[in-house]
């Protein structure tokens, strides 16, 4: 099953789980399944239109993908999806 790597800022909404495995075949379905599993993630990950927020990038492997463009980005058994939000700490 494909795996979504959950970034630290979202882990407080995922019972501190760092990964989410999905049996879905497309990225859009996987993200939907992810926010259904952890409803508090939704408003932090997605905007009012259901699109991934502009300060968050989504990668498959090391390539950026745009999950908002279409729902046809396919996931395979060993796909690793990284959600990468902007963080600003340095102090």
């Amino acid at each position: 099953m494909a795996r979504i790597i959950i970034p630290t800022p979202l882990r407080k909404f995922t019972d501190h789980n760092r990964n989410f495995t999905t049996d879905k075949d497309t990225l859009a379905e996987a993200i939907q399944q992810f926010v259904e599993e952890y409803p508090d993630v939704e408003s932090n990950l997605l905007d009012e239109d259901g699109n991934v927020r502009s300060f968050i990038k989504v990668y498959i492997g090391d390539d950026e993908v745009d999950p908002n463009k279409n729902g046809t980005i396919e996931l395979s058994e060993d796909t690793e999806v990284s959600i990468v939000p902007a963080i600003a700490g340095g102090c």
Partner: protein, 395 residues
């Protein structure tokens, strides 16, 4: 780096740098480039402290330090340039002392100020490389934009709890190809409050040490030209499961600085861009608060006179474990649900760490339930510790 060929070293310097000189790829040329280089570190805190120690030790000839902050006890678990006896002193002052001790052969320039749109271009202009170790989005976008306008590489590091990110932005490679910048990666900052700061969310003390050292390594690579800098890439580190990933950063045609239709041609108001009140606005708010306030001395006088006052603490439970002054704990997130615990018939003082969250709590209670007997403890538990009872820990 310009004019490095004519750089010379004393015998003491040659001894100091001998282990660099013996690396074939680095050698005398690399060391000369380091000595000729000028690096500006914005922020001398968690990321800056480890990074600066290595840059100084390595022999970067001129290092600029930008910071307006003073050292607090809560800095010491990660800001390893500073010790307990330095609390209360300006960070740049102590950093300069330590760095000159590490390497007396280099020059340290101190800029004890907040980097702003008014001074950023003037300060950055004199340097070859900028290392961003700041702790907020407005300054990160400011540094990015200034570096693009001045054609300087920006070595970026950022951290959150257990996770760190590093990249080299606006880097021009040997073929003259310019890499992406921060706005290519993140066109917009998160809305205020969505991504908590280190002060709110905490940070594993060793994490900025790891990320800051990687920044130092990238700065040295950019200066000397050895290896492949993290340009066009974002390095991700998670200390919890020791995972490292490196993902690609692509240029964005809509980048407002260097995209197809650039809109930003001069530095802007970055507080406004990030949806935050202006720095001056914050200061004005401090003098003209929106909610009734009480100073710690005045509140102490109420208690001493035996007045019946209820004290509400709106911090998180873990904060109350660190320091408390006898308040009833109702965290800010729960304040509206537990408003029935707040007395309406006597003075109620609301406090947090520094006074911001308690002010927010009072506004919520006033708006939803019409409370008119609430006072914000000005400066919070920090002010209490400073002015009333120094045995209360500052954090």
């Amino acid at each position: 780096m310009t004019n490095w060929e004519n750089v010379e070293f004393s015998s003491k310097e040659l001894g100091h740098y001998s282990r660099h000189l013996s690396i074939p790829e680095f050698g005398m040329e690399g060391q000369k480039k380091l000595k000729a280089a000028k690096v500006l570190a914005v922020g001398t805190g968690g990321l800056g402290a480890p990074m600066l120690q290595y840059l100084a030790a390595a022999g970067v000839g001129t290092i600029g330090l930008v910071d307006f902050d003073v050292i607090e006890a809560s800095n010491l678990h990660r800001q390893v340039l500073f010790g307990a006896s330095d609390v209360g002193r300006p960070k740049v002052e102590v950093a300069k002392e330590r760095l000159q001790e590490i390497n007396p052969h280099i020059t340290i320039n101190v800029h004890e100020t907040r980097l702003t749109s008014d001074n950023a271009l003037e300060i950055i202009e004199d340097y070859d490389v900028v290392a961003d170790g700041t702790d907020n989005f407005p300054t990160r976008y400011l540094i990015n934009d200034a570096c693009v306008m001045l054609d300087k590489p920006n070595v970026h590091g950022s951290i959150f709890q257990f996770e760190g990110q590093v990249s080299v932005f606006n880097y021009v490679d040997q073929d003259g190809e310019r890499g992406p910048n921060y706005r290519d990666l993140f066109p917009e900052p998160p809305p205020p409050g969505l991504v908590p700061s280190c002060a709110e969310a905490g940070v594993l003390g060793v994490l900025p040490g790891i990320i800051g050292c990687i920044q130092a390594s990238e700065v040295i690579k950019v200066i000397t030209g050895i290896g492949e800098p993290l340009a066009g890439k974002l390095f991700l580190f998670d200390a919890l499961n020791f995972s490292t990933r490196t993902v690609k950063v692509k240029k964005n045609k809509d980048n407002p600085l260097v995209g197809e239709d650039p809109e930003i041609t001069e530095l802007i108001d970055y507080q406004e861009f990030c949806g935050l009140p202006s720095i001056n606005g914050e200061q004005e708010e401090e003098t003209e608060s929106e909610v009734p306030e009480v100073s710690v001395k005045e509140y102490k006088s109420w208690i001493d006179r035996g007045e019946d006052v209820q004290l509400i603490d709106v911090r998180k439970p873990y904060e109350a474990e660190i320091a408390e002054i006898g308040g009833e704990l109702i965290p800010l997130d729960d304040i509206l649900d537990k408003a029935d615990k707040i007395d309406r018939n006597k003075k109620v003082v609301v406090h947090c760490r520094s006074g911001q969250r308690s002010s927010d709590a009072i506004k919520k209670l006033q708006e939803k339930y019409g409370f008119d007997n609430l006072y914000n403890l000005k400066g919070g538990i920090l002010a209490w510790s400073e002015e009333i009872d120094e045995s209360v820990p500052q954090y």
